[in-house]
């Protein structure tokens, strides 16, 4: 093949151009730490990258949700712990034996007053807030859930917790089952419009689950606050009805131990949150590692590539000077 000057020049120019673009690409890789700047350079890695980016965004969402739910849950736990210690002290100090007090009526009335005060503080504790939201309110976190009416009734979201009306009982049962699911990455799924409970975390704690509601078969209230009120009423009476008081006290003890169970339940949920957080943090690391594998570049390799590209470019330039300096003209006398 006959070689012409322009052919050499053009081919040289093309090769120099590609050496230069190789240098530019290597430079960009070192500077950005990414293997590519546009998705077309590596479509499959770019596609995996976008999926990972979405997962990372989701992971960040879950993590911040877990953290905020943890605080929420802490408030719930504090509330129930406080209630539980109040209930415990009532259970210990107000036993039937203690009430057969030799001080008689005066002593009992002092106890009654104490009980009423405890009753009120239980209501206040149950109406605890986190931010603007009532933590024990189920689905109505905007309004204080518990109220002690003037006639001594305990109302949960406007409904008498001691009501014997079956309609009210049904509503209370429904309220006690209220949920507030948050998606923490357990694979949120819906079934018939409802969240599948195992696929999300339930952050609601309807207060009546802590202090009880409804009545036993013999008509004794199951609600601790109501019970405390009734115990106070009995203590205030002139003749102390030991038998009736004993019944209330036994029920109170039962409710109190039920509350302890609830506390344990909350503890378990807190642990679940803790382990979720750990899992999310691990996942975050994994995603980042995977992302680096798909999109990122090994620094040492990138710098080596850059040096190599620079070497190639320099060599091309050097060859260029020798191509164009010499021609037959240089050898004429």
């Amino acid at each position: 093949m006959r070689i012409t000057t322009n052919m050499i020049r053009r081919n040289y120019q093309n090769n120099l151009g590609s050496a230069m673009s190789g240098l530019e690409q290597a430079r960009r890789q070192v500077e950005t730490g990414r293997r590519f700047g546009s998705s077309y350079e590596d479509p499959s890695a770019a596609a995996r990258g976008t999926v990972l980016e979405t997962r990372l965004a989701r992971n960040a969402d879950y993590t911040s949700t877990v953290k905020s739910i943890q605080k929420w849950q802490d408030t719930q736990e504090d509330t129930i712990t406080q209630l539980s210690s109040m209930a415990k002290s009532i259970g210990e100090d107000y036993s039937t034996a203690a009430m057969n007090d030799p001080t008689g009526e005066t002593g009992r009335s002092a106890y009654a007053q104490n009980l009423r005060a405890l009753q009120k503080s239980m209501i206040i504790t149950l109406n605890a807030k986190y931010g603007n939201a009532y933590v024990m309110a189920g689905s109505d976190a905007l309004n204080a859930p518990f109220e002690l009416s003037a006639d001594g009734k305990v109302l949960y979201r406007g409904i008498d917790v001691d009501s014997s009306d079956p309609d009210d009982q049904a509503v209370l049962a429904e309220l006690s089952r209220e949920t507030a699911y948050v998606d923490l990455g357990y694979g949120l799924t819906f079934s018939g419009g409802e969240v599948v409970s195992s696929s999300a975390f339930d952050s609601a704690f309807p207060g009546i689950n802590a202090v009880g509601y409804g009545q036993t078969e013999d008509g004794t209230s199951k609600n601790l606050i109501v019970l405390a009120g009734k115990m106070a009423d009995l203590l205030d009476e002139d003749v102390f009805n030991t038998e009736e008081y004993g019944k209330l006290w036994t029920q109170f003890k039962e409710g109190s131990s039920e509350m302890s169970n609830q506390l344990t339940g909350i503890g378990t949920k807190s642990q679940l949150l803790e382990s979720s957080l750990e899992r999310l943090q691990n996942e975050n690391l994994n995603i980042k590692e995977q992302y680096k594998g798909d999109v990122g570049i090994d620094e040492a390799e990138a710098i080596m590539n850059f040096s190599w590209a620079q070497y190639v470019y320099n060599a091309s330039l050097k060859i260029g000077t020798s191509i164009f300096s010499a021609s037959l003209l240089d050898f004429l006398k």
Partner: protein
């Protein structure tokens, strides 16, 4: 045969002028080494042979030639390589046009290195998640936060929609005010050159430089559309002149004559109301009078015009064509936007969808959302409509101010549920990712096709150069060669001069 006394001088003179002319040609070649399209020229020399019978012809009568004759200056060019080169140019033209437009689309949808629609979309989900917590109950601002995340999202969408429009307008503008004009002006210039070349050739000049110019223009024309070039010889003998015919064969195998001697065709680009689809028509020279326009929009096989028009006009599954043009990407994008807005509006409606509380509406009143017309509904903007947090009523008529199960459904729909995006089913964000991924795959294909076509083009250019290009060393060598032959011819002349000097001045001096 008796030799004429001074015949040797003519031979020397012919040799001198041949060498001189050869050096001139070398000079011309050297001077034009960098001229685009220049074809190396060569002096065609032939040896003068004595012809005819001599009076006393005998086998002892040794005849010798009478010197050198310049038969003309010729170009060295391989027409087959020209055909190959032009065919390849058309292929490069298609690939280059496609690649450039895909690059522009990539600049819009490729968020590998930037934040745009994807991050805005993720932000909407994050903001929804914030609402979906009891601790956020009663935060009036949370609705506004979702709304502003949506505003950012819509801004990113509108920006992309505008960018798509701009790409279309740019390509359209290039086609209209540059490409079609170039094609027509190439044809016109070739027509003018045809006349000039013909006239020059009639006067006996081969018009080599003009032919170079014409070939260059033909190469230019070949990048726009595939052309076939044929030469026909008109007249005979010394009056023979070449006329040029350029044709273009469309996909239906119809042959359209673009140039025939001094008659030329004209291309016309037709646009519809808002620009696309475009149509391309030829005013063929063969057409009967009055000239009819032939529509060749979808009949181009290769070339820049095909590349650009296909990208402008076609949108694959959306119009049943086979090219993923700009329309494909904008339609995919519209589908994504429409799915998003429809899902959100659907979930926000209450009473099993009977009562609408639209979060998004269209700015043009159309029922379908597109990237260009989607907006946040006036009702959501002024607060008449808010996010429907729950579809359920509280148990026994109790308030459920902080219930948010509906928000959870929105999150689920936006992040986990699969939706139908015409060509595939996937999560909402994958509807957007798909645009980027498709673009990436198409562009990778187009750029590798381009580089393949280019490397073939360079190979053909090398072969062309091997035949027609100037090699400086070769020309310098020619210079030396003809300098030597010039010197030799001069020496021949002085030798003859000395011989005659002997004969005329020094012979027959006896008795003087």
């Amino acid at each position: 045969m008796i030799r004429s006394t001074f015949s040797g001088f003519t031979m020397a003179q012919l040799a001198l002028s041949a060498s001189q002319r050869a050096i001139d040609v070398a000079g011309q070649n050297l001077s034009n080494v960098n001229t685009t399209g220049y074809t190396r020229q060569r002096l065609d020399l032939i040896s003068i042979n004595p012809v005819g019978a001599s009076f006393s012809s005998s086998k002892f009568d040794n005849k010798v030639g009478q010197g050198v004759m310049m038969n003309g200056i010729i170009q060295i060019r391989d027409p087959y390589l020209d055909i190959q080169y032009r065919n390849q140019l058309a292929k490069v033209g298609t690939a280059d046009a496609t690649d450039q437009i895909l690059e522009k689309i990539g600049n819009i949808f490729d968020e590998t290195d930037s934040k745009g629609v994807r991050s805005a979309f993720n932000d909407i989900i994050s903001q929804l998640r914030n609402i979906a917590q009891l601790s956020e109950a009663g935060e009036e601002s949370s609705d506004a936060l979702v709304r502003s995340a949506c505003t950012v999202f819509l801004n990113a969408i509108h920006q992309n929609a505008t960018s798509i429009d701009n790409v279309i307008r740019d390509v359209l503008d290039e086609l209209q005010s540059s490409d079609i004009k170039n094609v027509n002006s190439c044809i016109q210039q070739i027509l003018e050159l045809n006349t000039t070349i013909k006239n020059t050739q009639l006067m006996g000049n081969p018009a080599l430089e003009l032919q170079d110019q014409r070939n260059q223009l033909l190469d230019d024309l070949a990048t726009y559309l595939p052309i076939q070039v044929t030469y026909e010889t008109e007249g005979t003998g010394s009056e023979a002149v070449d006329t040029l015919k350029v044709t273009f064969t469309d996909e239906d195998k119809n042959v359209h004559t673009l140039i025939s001697d001094n008659k030329g065709a004209e291309f016309q680009l037709g646009t519809t109301g808002d620009g696309i689809p475009v149509s391309l028509k030829i005013k063929d020279i063969d057409s009967a009078d009055p000239v009819s326009d032939i529509d060749v929009t979808n009949l181009m096989i290769n070339g820049v015009l095909k590349g650009k028009m296909d990208m402008l006009n076609k949108s694959e599954v959306f119009d049943g064509t086979e090219t993923k043009g700009i329309g494909y990407y904008s339609s995919m994008f519209d589908t994504f936007v429409n799915t998003f807005a429809t899902v959100m509006n659907g979930l926000n409606a209450t009473d099993n969808g009977a009562t609408a509380h639209d979060l998004f509406s269209t700015s043009d009143g159309s029922a379908t959302f597109t990237a260009a017309n989607i907006k946040i509904s006036d009702e959501w903007m002024n607060g008449t409509v808010t996010l429907t947090r729950t579809q359920e009523t509280g148990a026994g008529g109790t308030e459920n101010s902080s219930a948010y199960s509906n928000i959870l459904k929105m999150i689920d729909e936006l992040s986990n549920k699969e939706h139908d995006f015409v060509v595939f089913k996937g999560t909402m964000i994958s509807g957007y990712d798909n645009i980027q991924n498709t673009q990436a795959i198409e562009r990778k294909a187009s750029s590798s096709i381009l580089s393949n076509h280019l490397s073939v083009l360079y190979q053909i250019a090398d072969s062309k150069d091997a035949v027609s290009g100037v090699n400086l060393d070769e020309e310098v060598m020619d210079m030396m060669r003809y300098q030597q032959s010039y010197n030799a011819a001069s020496r021949l002349m002085t030798t003859l001069d000395q011989l005659l000097d002997k004969l005329i001045n020094e012979t027959g001096v006896v008795g003087r």
